[in-house]
């Protein structure tokens, strides 16, 4: 990867946009793997449709990097550095729902804050991504409510998977007060601070899944700024 412009805000946005695309691509793969084994045929069809959406989001997001002066040689759906929790096959349906709730939730909340970004190609794509993510949210919420209603081991597993996903995805926006992120907000590249993204997703998930424990990430000493994990 070669970076031409090196101001702090742009470097942070390059990391955010590249990682957004990487994680969208990984979500597409993970969703796609459940398109033949979801609990119901309707959910399998939904998984396939969501996979197609996510792969489209990834493909459409990578070109924004070029507008920021970055040529990423490994940009593509077989490469990238997604969050560890979605870097390999999801072990159970609860993980699928948790990935949609938490990982997609965090990414979409970030995208919502880029709807009026001063990086116009990002703003353009954000509006379309948000349109398509609406259906993903409906799917995740419907399954979470269904599992909450039934209770028992399925709900316990969903809560556990949600907490596992949160431990990873909550770190994606980065630490609050990060110089590059703060500069990006000041430059109008993105609207929501890392802690605001986490708070919004946490409030939503807490209302949806009583008993879930979603702590603010603590130690950032080993956080990888480039891959946001």
């Amino acid at each position: 990867m070669s970076v031409v412009r090196v101001d702090a805000a742009t470097v942070t946005m390059i990391s955010l946009i590249g990682s957004l695309a990487d994680n969208k691509g990984a979500l597409g793969r993970r969703y796609g793997e459940w398109a033949v084994s979801a609990p119901t045929i309707e959910s399998a069809v939904a998984a396939a449709a969501m996979a197609q959406d996510e792969l489209g989001h990834a493909r459409s997001t990578y070109p924004v990097l070029a507008k920021l002066g970055v040529e990423r040689e490994d940009a593509g759906l077989d490469a990238g550095h997604p969050l560890v929790v979605i870097s390999s096959e999801l072990p159970d349906w609860a993980s699928f729902i948790a990935a949609n709730l938490v990982v997609d939730g965090v990414l979409t909340t970030f995208v919502a804050g880029a709807r009026d970004s001063s990086i116009e190609p990002l703003a353009q794509r954000a509006r379309k991504i948000l349109q398509e993510e609406g259906a993903h949210k409906v799917h995740a919420e419907a399954w979470a409510r269904r599992m909450a209603r039934v209770g028992g081991p399925d709900l316990e597993l969903l809560v556990r998977r949600t907490e596992e996903m949160w431990a990873s995805a909550a770190r994606w926006p980065g630490p609050d007060g990060h110089d590059g992120y703060t500069a990006a907000v000041e430059a109008g590249m993105v609207a929501s601070s890392p802690s605001a993204i986490r708070a919004q997703v946490r409030d939503w998930l807490s209302a949806l899944l009583g008993g879930v424990s979603l702590d603010e990430p603590g130690d950032w000493s080993e956080w990888d700024e480039q891959y946001r994990r």
Binding site: G56, S60, R125, R127, K128, Q131, E132
Partner: protein
Amino acid sequence: MSVTSDSVEARLWEALRGVEDPEIPVSVVGMGLIVSLAYRASERAADLEITFTAMGCPAMDFIEEDIRSALLADPDVDMVNIEVVWDPVWTKDRIRAEARSRMRNLGIAV
């Protein structure tokens, strides 16, 4: 814009009306995919902005190829520039009335 450019643009729009969405027998114009079309006589170039119904649309490449072929078939066009844009966001409101009618006749709810 010269009269020549106007007439070429009119022909190009007509050519686009012959390019169908591979998944639904409705033209890309009828589907509301074409955001803008301009002809530059000095370059003999057609500049087209297109959007798609979904970012993951599997037919995007086919549609772009079909559009390129259709526009290059015009005797006054040597170059076609296609830019995919996501704003305006495509919604069903972009489907033109004649296409809407055709889709209803095919049993597609719009």
